[in-house]
């Protein structure tokens, strides 16, 4: 085990190479762009979280006494839009992916560094539209902006929010494009496809979805804007249009978008589990190809959001079946992670606690997804809190747990400092407890029949107890999310310097310095080992002297 020795003269790295605002705003270094993204998505995360807080406060009592109905509609809409398009979708790919993809494959940068910077600017421009839309009244349609309500009736700022999402969408496309080309063309000598870390496979699959899904929602937004401006009739049943077509186009992107959120998180968890159980991932190729399978199946299940929207029974049956099919690759992953843990030398550091949290919460979220894929149960619980709880287990319990786990795991590499381990474990625990307290009662509420998007449930006061539990949980969860931000910032100044490889982890990103130099490696790495070679890393020192080539 290495011991961190503070170096007398600070080595040149990507953080101290240049100073000043322009050295950040005009940087083409993928690591700096990742930090730009980190700051911006954290900003949007707290805005979205603020809306969530107001929603939970309103539901503390059955009567609608905190905000008015219209305001409540805007709250849950803006919460959804901000969290989905401006936090969850860019979260892991644009921050951790941006930082790690080139390093993990031994490249100096992404293939198109300037396009990478452009994607951040597009994100910011989209975000400015969204902020302006929020400050001048917001949108009240729900984040799904279903036609014809969004096209003909709602008189809120839909076009403006649409433009924001359209532009941010192109940012997401460009990130995906950069990853695909980088993974294909920029791998270091010896870094074959079967030696790639599974984080890379997960990001490759994510990029495919970003590339093939996002353009469809972009063109859907164009149609909604034209429809609002000119009343074309494409989605207006009064003029011969079909509102269900809108739902098809919308969910063709927005269902796979869930996999844009969860796949990178799965990649993070794979890295963490291998490192903290000191074992090669069980069934490497199954885990790799299950990512691709999720991306492919993910495109074929969108209509399970529309079982009660008037689609034919036959297509509902097919989509129900395909939705079950997508559970297979997800289950392959969970079983392989569990098999990796089996007989591993498990350490309970903070990243691993988040990974365990992910395992449990994702499994619950995934299994309740099967309830919803079943036609009969789906009709019973459609538009209830059961659905809300289900997708929060995936998108918050899954994606955000993975994101936080990854932030802790790679924080020493990103900042060159160690975070306080005790506080981090406490935060992981608080997040896990707060999350379950917030969302588990919502499964029960939904199953008992509480509809989503109601601001006033005074005709069913028996639901108050569970809602109070949920609001209490949200408060705990909020503390759990604030804590890491505080101690990460604290550690940047006061944290102990991190060694190059504090976890003794496998992977090329740990073979360079912490923080890395601008071009990542002082010499181009040549890969002669398989991914996750923890058995070799942990072998007694005298056998470690000889490099093991296969």
């Amino acid at each position: 085990m290495e011991i961190a020795i503070p170096q007398p003269v600070e080595r040149e790295n990507y953080l101290n190479k240049e100073y000043g605002v322009w050295s950040w705003l005009l940087t083409t270094d993928h690591k700096r762009i990742a930090l730009l993204y980190l700051v911006s998505i954290t900003f949007f995360f707290f805005i979205g979280g603020f809306f969530a807080l107001l929603i939970r406060l309103e539901l503390l009592t059955p009567a609608g006494d905190l905000v008015q109905a219209d305001t409540y509609n805007k709250l849950f809409t803006m919460h959804g839009m901000v969290m989905v398009f401006f936090f969850l979708i860019p979260s892991i790919p644009a921050v951790l992916g941006n930082f790690l993809v080139p390093m993990m494959i031994g490249a100096k940068d992404l293939a198109f560094p300037r396009i990478n910077l452009l994607s951040w600017y597009l994100y910011i421009i989209g975000g400015v539209f969204m902020l302006h839309c929020m400050l001048t009244g917001g949108v009240d349609t729900g984040w799904t902006f279903y036609a014809p309500f969004s096209t003909n009736f709602s008189n809120t700022k839909i076009v403006e929010a649409g433009i924001g999402i359209f532009i941010a969408g192109f940012s997401s496309i460009l990130t995906g494009l950069n990853f695909v080309v980088t993974i294909h063309r920029m791998r270091a000598p010896g870094m074959t496809w079967s030696r790639l870390p599974l984080f890379i496979w997960a990001h490759y699959a994510t990029s495919i979805i970003q590339l093939l899904g996002t353009p469809v929602i972009a063109v859907t937004i164009v149609l909604v804007a034209c429809e609002r401006a000119l009343h074309l009739g494409i989605f207006d049943p009064k003029l011969g249009g079909d509102p269900v077509l809108f739902q098809h186009l919308f969910w063709f992107y927005s269902h796979p978008a869930v996999y844009i959120m969860i796949l990178p998180s799965m990649g993070v968890v794979t890295e963490i589990i291998a490192c903290f159980s000191r074992k090669r991932i069980f069934g490497y190729s199954f885990v790799a190809f299950s990512s691709i399978a999720i991306a492919v199946f993910g495109f074929l299940v969108w209509a399970h959001h529309m079982f009660v929207a008037g689609i034919s029974v036959y297509s509902a049956l097919v989509f129900s079946f395909l939705s079950y099919a997508v559970a297979l690759p997800s289950a392959i992953k969970v079983f392989n992670w569990t098999a990796t843990l089996y007989k591993g030398s498990i350490r309970y550091d903070a990243p691993m606690l988040y990974a365990f949290g992910f395992l449990g919460l994702f499994t619950i979220g995934g299994l309740t997804g099967l309830f919803l894929a079943a036609l009969g149960i789906n009709v019973h619980v459609t538009d209830t809190y059961f659905v809300v709880a289900h997708f929060h287990y995936i998108m918050v319990g899954g994606a955000v747990m993975g994101y936080l786990g990854g932030m802790h795991f790679w924080w020493p590499k990103i900042s060159g400092k160690l975070y306080p381990e005790g506080w981090a474990r406490l935060a992981a625990l608080i997040v896990f407890i707060g999350f379950n307290l917030t969302f588990f009662p919502q499964f029960v509420l939904g199953y008992l029949g509480m509809p989503r998007r109601y601001y006033d449930y005074s005709h069913m006061p028996e639901f108050q107890v569970l809602n109070v539990l949920s609001t209490a949980g949200a408060t705990v969860l909020g503390v759990g999310y604030l804590l890491p931000m505080v101690y990460f910032l604290w550690s940047m100044r006061y944290g102990k310097p991190a060694s190059d490889n504090p976890w003794n982890a496998a992977g090329l990103e740990w073979k360079t310095t912490s923080p890395p130099p601008t071009f990542n490696f002082d010499e181009e790495p040549v890969v002669t080992w398989e991914a996750y070679n923890y058995e070799e890393l942990d072998a007694p020192p005298h056998t470690q002297e000889v490099p093991v080539a296969r």
Binding site: R11, E12, A107, K108, D109, A111, F112, P113, I173, L177, V180, V181, T182, H184, R185, M186, L211, L212, G213, T214, P215, V216, A218, V219, T220, V222, L223, C226, L230, H231, L232, G233, I234, L239, G240, G241, D242, L245, H248, L249, F252, T513, P517, F519, D522, E524
Partner: protein
């Protein structure tokens, strides 16, 4: 670990001036750029794909109305534009060949001719839009499409609302296509400028190749739009 003063020595060896620092070889840079454009074109297929999907659904739902509406567009102008674009694809290929074989004059001519053909296309498109505007076929408040017979069904008339959906799709699809043409003209003006400055050599002409790929793609979209919008009901 090398001392930090040694960093920087790596860049001393000679390499092509267009090779960016993060690529190892020119070949890697060329492959990456070219793959990047292909991947981008895949996203463009999906972008137009949503519209093609909507078109096919309504074409099937409102078969006769779409036929009648399609018949009101001038197929001769559309066919001329198709020919113009096919010619421009040829000139793009010739431009790439000229860059590969270091024929500077031919390269400049072909880039200029391509841009000229692009402008001709947009001009003809503008005439078509003007005709539609005068005939009140632009969707919106002043839209009218009354008493237009459905081809092949004597005595039946097209439903103006369903025809309006056809024209909506017509304008959105050809409008987005025209927007892509305008972006293409922007790319080609930059290529023309760079070629004028003598930036392209047989060793380095990737921008011409990937700019050409984009141009061909925009042409191909038109090759699909033309029959779907102009030719679906042309029998007498």
């Amino acid at each position: 670990m090398p001392d930090s003063t040694l960093v920087g020595l790596h860049h001393e060896e000679e390499h092509h001036p267009e090779l960016l620092h993060h690529f190892a070889t020119e070949e890697q840079q060329r492959d990456a750029s070219s793959l990047g454009m292909w991947v981008f074109l895949a996203t463009e297929v999906m972008f137009f794909g949503g519209l093609f999907c909507a078109y096919l659904i309504y074409r099937r739902l409102y078969f006769g109305d779409f036929g009648a509406a399609s018949k009101s567009i001038d197929a001769t102008l559309g066919a001329t534009n198709t020919a113009v674009l096919i010619c421009s694809s040829l000139t793009v290929v010739l431009a790439v060949w000229a860059a590969q074989t270091a024929r500077r004059t031919l390269l400049l001519t072909m880039l200029a001719v391509t841009m000229l053909l692009g402008c001709v296309f947009l001009g003809i498109k503008a005439v078509e839009y003007k005709d539609k505007f005068e005939e009140h076929h632009v969707p919106g408040a002043s839209f009218s499409f009354n008493n237009v017979p459905i081809p092949g069904h004597p005595g039946e008339y097209a439903n103006p609302r369903h025809a309006q959906i056809f024209f909506s799709l017509y304008f959105v699809m050809t409008g987005l296509h025209a927007l892509h043409m305008i972006i293409g003209l922007g790319i080609f003006s930059w290529l023309l400028y760079a070629a004028w400055k003598g930036r392209f050599t047989p060793e380095y002409h990737t921008p011409i190749e990937i700019g050409g790929l984009y141009w061909h793609f925009v042409d191909i979209i038109w090759i699909y739009l033309f029959p779907l919008l102009y030719l679906i009901d042309r029998h007498p």
